[in-house]
Symmetry: C2
Subunit: 825 residues, 2 copies
């Protein structure tokens, strides 16, 4: 049970009827968090946490155990639960939404157009006006440019620091400690080729540093082993502690939350500066610790943090949550772009996977952002090579044959199976963590996982090295020089290799390698299931790719040997040519990697594009596609959701999936609040209420807004008033001393003209705060239409009418609850 | 004035107030079409044309000159204009929409879900049911696969035939006439390298065929010249005649219409088999004629025709216009994919430029379709090389320098200027053609343009060859062997070239080439303005690319010489290295080509991706992006619309641009029908009308549907009834003889129980045909919200209410009219 879950309580608390099981969790989390809130939490982002928790405790003490939150839900006005809503309009300045709110896209976009129009009008004015108008027009491009540069910069720093930390587990560069192992050896030999097997005099391993480097034996191995595990555990622990103390949001991959935020939800602090700082540093440590995780997913979160922070400097984006999401979409694209060096793939990822509302203008800016970010990172050149691609494949010229689509699709099926298995197991484990006492010890969990990972990973050379190095090795073809491990073919000499005769029977090196790879595969699969979800920054791309690449390479070697042994068979005829290798196992590794990642994330087009940008293999796009498609089909037949969507469901985030279709036959009347057994909706009447009655009304209700009707009897809908606006209007009126408690309140444009002359107090006219254009539907509207409207228009709520009379209201949460009840019952 | 314009009359006729200028056009077109309808039109797709035209004439004779059409507009019931609406429900079977209708996305999607659910229910049934359910599930993939294969096949045929026809202008292959010039010479020399300058014994030019090949002189040149022009004009003429007689829709690029169709408009026959046939064959002839046009845009139209025709075999798509558009989106992607060999670019083009409603499922299928189509085309291998890319660039290893972004952006600005100029001039010319008598002679126009093109193109070697050959030559770097034309550098020998020293002072060949290229540029720019819009299949991609490539190559040579002359200057320091060429003019040509196309079409992301897939130059993505961005900015500052959108506006297609934002401050009340001066809306009351009164009502109105209200007095909205449904229900009731003219009609669920006992005739209950969930908005809703709702939900109409009372209706056309009136006044 994490702090994050507790924070979401406020949003989810009023689902008491449907989500009874969660209530148990909630009370647990409260206990857990109460102990935490006693800690000296000094980081700004945590302050809001403690604040909120104390609110929460207060609510618990007051006895209103399940109604501490006020959301845009309609709640029975007779409930006596008391909320701290009043001061909301005071402490919030420009930002219209508080935490855990659903934003109203239509309103926000309309607001921005209004702002835009006022600027256009000004343009004809003085020079400063013209200047500010020009600034405003340029700010959209400026902000994505700044985001791109900063994302590229941060990614560069992480890419430089993570290998250094990682190599610290093995030793240190003697004369210049700031260099990692690879750079340390470059320095020495004055060339940038670095062979793993070569020893390097500058590089001091721990035994050497401890002064026992000269002896050779079990002691040295043990010391290296211990140092590897100890330092790895230390890294993991420091990441976990930093996350726990300073930024509870910095754990995990962040992509499920980014998806939720982009769909129009506000989680204050999730994209703040402390999250950014802790996620970035924690990411380096977590990657360096040797845990089975990647930095690619979290980089998307880091990029979105940067986007959010930079948007504070632009009023256009700071004050408009809908516009801010355009910036965040571009940031997500930039994040994937730097993670893989794949700008086009980044944009497609943002479009396909992350984003919700994606106007064409955003597409172009996202592309710009992704490209500039990739360019900046390339200029920083953290890997020391000028390649734009991450895993360079060295078999450009090798064609693939139609018959090979069969094993490729087989790999796809394997990848899909793995993906489905992974999602099922990971979700089961995460549920267990949420519901059992295990969730109370996140640090201990990290410690155990890190220790286990270190202990099991070190003995196997393929798991000892970092996952991205392993992928690089598996995807590459055997070069002319290499003849060890997976390249140990019989009769392989420099001469035959040079002639391209890389394929022959496997030697003992490959046999050992196959065993080691099998063990590595099993280890990676199991440990990754337990790793994804622990409280350190952790991405899933690299582990999935790695698992797929191992499978692919093994299958590839198998097919190669099969083809070699049966060269006369018709189906293998084309595969083996005299002057070429039989099949390229590296290609199989690449396809397998893509298939595994596809199975886990259910990405499609963006994955194909990322893979081909990642490897530079334009000609392998058809095999990639075939494998990824098979993978998705297989995975879809077992679990319906990808890992990110599964985590969204697991955490009950208010997310309307824009890929899923609403498949039930209910109508709006089945979903709206109130249902038959509920008390009627809290409504205002347009001209029959007094200030005092509205004050009382505000006290006994805690919903975010009220429909206004002509009269209690007719219930014909006039408009909608936000609680906040009503509160502020009443307060202002009282400050001006123009109203008395018995003043009539008019939400109408007309009011009786003789009011002033009579002895009654002067009326309060509140026409201005009424939204006269709420989105309405009829009670007979099919829920699929309602679902489409919520998704496509980004609604917060819609009012339900019948023949013009108000019947109820539907919020996004009502829909989610409705869908959940339909699927469970 | 074309037939197409006349066909749209029906849709546009009732815009008499706002579009007075068009009325003149309309009457002209009627004259023109009346003469046509006397021709023996036998092609099925033309039959509907003549039918509709006679309707039109009928209407004109009846004297209701401007109200011949009935659309989903609300029209004053007191108007006595009489329409032939009644038989609509009879002659239309499965297809719910007639010609020139806006489709209702929400309803169609809901319909498909209903169908889907019934299939899911059936799945638990017998084996045939299971089988049909499986078929249905697979049909989505099957249809895109079939489309992909057929698109690839048709594109292959066109790619093979067009060069053959084109070479016919120069001569014929002696022994095997079915080979084009290039293949003819391969056959002879048994290699696939083909050098343009070499003569080839098998290839017989026209002078040789006429028996005067041995003499050399002005006569031969003249004969070749005459043959070139004559055959070109003949090709162009036959394309134009075929278009005119068999398929009037086959002219132009088709992309504006595809955009309109994909946005939810029905143009019957636009994607029919005759259009397909004539567009494909006409395309070969038009390309071969030497006119300044390309086959890429029309290939998208051809692909959509194939998609539409194939969808007839799948009931799921045949009967649902919204689902059909998913297939058409995928077809468009496949079309671009085969046109450029750019699958990813094709998908992005479909997403960015063509499509309107693009669910994620469609994205993945479109990608599949694009990829398979490209693969099929590659297997057909029409160009005789195994390259996936169309214009292979041969300078992969050449880096570009940051300073070069300045000339690249300069090229972008030039491209943007050209694009804006082109759009302005072309639209002006098309307007002139529409409004003057020029439009009456389309064949003559083609003749003149083709003759002019031939006469002016032949003398210049750069315009004589086909545009795509020219682009290939301009984009390529000077290879080691070539030393003529644009590669004629001083001191250029095989030896220096081999050492990579391609850059040196320009020789006389380049000087001549620069002159010829300048002339070619001016010629291409002017002739393309007049060519795009004539009545042959004509695309714009290749001419734009060609114009840009010429500019780019010339600028590139300029920069090269500048850098060469000033190697000591700081800014040129990096550009010239001793062992490398200075700058690569071919790269400049590529950037220039992209910039020009960007300026004309205003494409962004998809263009970058297409260009890099087209050329295979992954490392030039940043320069491409910089140039295309500059180009778009420059072009946007001069004209707001791309060429396709400009043609949509020109032709008054009902298209709500999904990239434009609604920037005005009006509200729904300003846009709805009726306005103050209009008569009230035609409404039905829920329980106070009789069969006779409804019959009368149907006679005096001609709108497509009626809102149902509680009573004339209260006007509280109950629902909406389609005219067609009402008509059918009344007819059925009369057939069953259950009703009398004085029978009461009830649209309510309850009706007085004592009805049967009284002496009144039995009532007619029509609750079932009432749509109880029409989309409604209030009169105060900002128009930008209404606009968003129409775009995102794909509405046909929305009802406007105030406090639950019906005030009016807004259709898509009302919005377009409203926007037009706001922008003009």
């Amino acid at each position: 049970m994490s702090e994050r879950d507790a924070l979401l309580l406020n949003y989810l608390m009023d689902d008491e009827e449907e989500l009874n099981s969660d209530l148990t969790v909630d009370s647990q989390s409260v206990t857990y968090n109460t102990t935490i809130s006693g800690d000296p939490l000094q980081a700004p982002s945590s302050r809001s946490v403690s604040l909120r928790l104390s609110d929460r405790e207060h609510a618990v003490h007051e006895g209103s155990s399940s109604r501490a939150s006020t959301d845009d839900d309609m709640v029975d006005p007779s409930t006596t639960g008391y909320a701290t809503d009043q001061d909301e309009s005071l402490d919030e300045g420009a930002n219209h939404y508080s935490d855990f709110h659903t934003i109203d896209w239509l309103k926000d976009i309309a607001k921005d157009r209004l702002r835009h129009r006022s600027i256009i009008k000004k343009r004809k004015g003085t020079i400063p006006n013209k200047l500010s108008s020009a600034c405003d027009a340029a700010s959209g491009w400026l902000i994505v440019f700044l985001i791109a540069v900063s994302v590229g910069g941060v990614a560069g720093v992480i890419d430089i620091a993570a290998p250094w930390f990682s190599d610290l587990k093995l030793g240190i560069c003697k004369d210049s400690f700031w260099l990692n192992r690879e750079q340390c050896c470059w320095d020495n030999e004055n060339n940038t080729r670095f062979d793993d097997s070569e020893s390097c005099s500058q590089w001091a391993t721990w035994p050497i540093l401890f002064g026992i480097g000269s002896v050779n034996g079990a002691g040295i191995y043990l010391l290296e082993y211990v140092m590897y595990c100890t330092i790895g555990v230390l890294f993991a622990l420091s990441a976990a502690v930093a996350v726990k103390i300073f930024a509870p949001y910095a754990c995990g991959s962040g992509i499920p939350e980014i998806k939720t935020i982009l769909s129009g939800f506000v989680i204050h602090g999730y994209l703040g500066k402390w999250t950014l700082l802790i996620k970035s540093t924690g990411l380096m440590l977590a990657v360096a610790s040797g845990l089975s995780l990647g930095k690619e997913g979290p980089l998307v979160h880091v990029a979105c943090c940067l986007g959010n922070i930079l948007s504070y400097f632009f009023p256009k984006y700071r004050n408009n949550e809908a516009k801010k999401r355009e910036v965040l979409s571009a940031s997500a694209a930039a994040g994937v772009s730097v993670a893989f060096g794949a700008p086009v793939g980044g944009v497609l990822f943002s479009l396909e996977e992350a984003s919700y509302y994606f106007p064409m203008k955003t597409l172009w800016r996202s592309f710009f952002s992704a490209l500039v970010a990739a360019f900046v990172l390339r200029s920083i050149n953290p890997f020391g090579n000028k390649h734009l691609v991450m895993f360079n494949i060295n078999y450009y010229q090798r064609p693939w044959y139609f018959i090979e689509l069969v094993p490729f699709m087989g790999l796809g099926a394997l990848g899909g199976l793995f993906g489905a298995l992974f999602i099922k197991c990971n979700i089961l484990w995460c549920k267990l963590r949420k519901t059992s006492r295990l969730g109370n010890y996140p640090i201990a969990e990290v410690l155990v996982i890190a220790l286990l990972t270190g202990l099991l990973a070190y003995p196997n050379p393929y798991t000892r090295k970092s996952a991205s190095e392993l992928i690089r090795e598996l995807i590459a073809a055997c070069s002319h020089e290499s003849s060890e491990g997976i390249c140990d073919y019989v009769n392989r000499t420099a001469e035959t290799a040079h002639r391209g005769l890389s394929s022959s029977a496997i030697g003992p090196g490959i046999q050992t390698a196959l065993w080691q790879l099998s063990l590595a595969l099993v280890f990676k699969v199991i440990i990754t299931i337990f790793t994804f979800g622990i409280k350190v920054p952790a991405g899933l791309f690299i582990p999935s790719l790695c698992i797929g690449a191992i499978t692919g390479r093994m299958v590839g070697i198998g097919i190669e040997q099969l083809a070699l042994a049966n060269q006369n068979l018709l189906i293998f005829e084309n595969l083996c040519r005299s002057d070429q290798s039989c099949v390229e196992p590296g290609l199989y590794a690449m396809i397998g990697a893509a298939a595994a990642l596809g199975g886990v994330t259910k990405m499609t087009v963006s994955l194909v594009v990322i893979m081909f940008e990642l490897t530079g293999g334009l000609q392998y796009i058809v095999p990639l596609m075939a494998a990824i498609m098979t993978s998705k089909w297989v995975a879809d037949s077992i679990v319906s959701e990808g890992i990110y969507d599964a985590h969204i469901t697991l955490n009950n985030y208010p997310f309307l999936d824009n890929k899923e279709e609403f498949t039930h036959t209910s109508i709006a009347a089945d979903c709206m609040v109130p249902q038959h057994h509920d008390p009627p909706l809290a409504v205002l009447t347009q001209n029959s209420m007094t200030v005092a009655s509205i004050e009382k009304f505000l006290k006994v209700t805690k919903v975010k807004g009220f429909p206004v009707v002509i009269s209690k009897e007719s219930q014909h809908l006039v408009g909608y008033v936000e609680r906040r606006d009503l509160r502020v209007a009443l307060d202002n009126a009282r400050k001006r001393c123009t109203v008395m408690p018995e003043s009539r309140v008019y939400f109408t444009p007309q009011y009786p003209a003789d009011m002033h002359t009579s002895d009654q107090p002067s009326p309060l006219r509140l026409r201005k705060i009424v939204d006269l254009a709420p989105i309405t539907i009829t009670d007979q509207t099919p829920m699929e239409t309602v679902y489409e409207m919520f998704r496509k228009l980004g609604l917060r709520y819609t009012l339900v009418t019948h023949n013009g009379r108000l019947l109820g209201i539907i919020t996004k949460k009502d829909i989610l609850r409705h869908v959940a009840s339909l699927e469970n019952g």
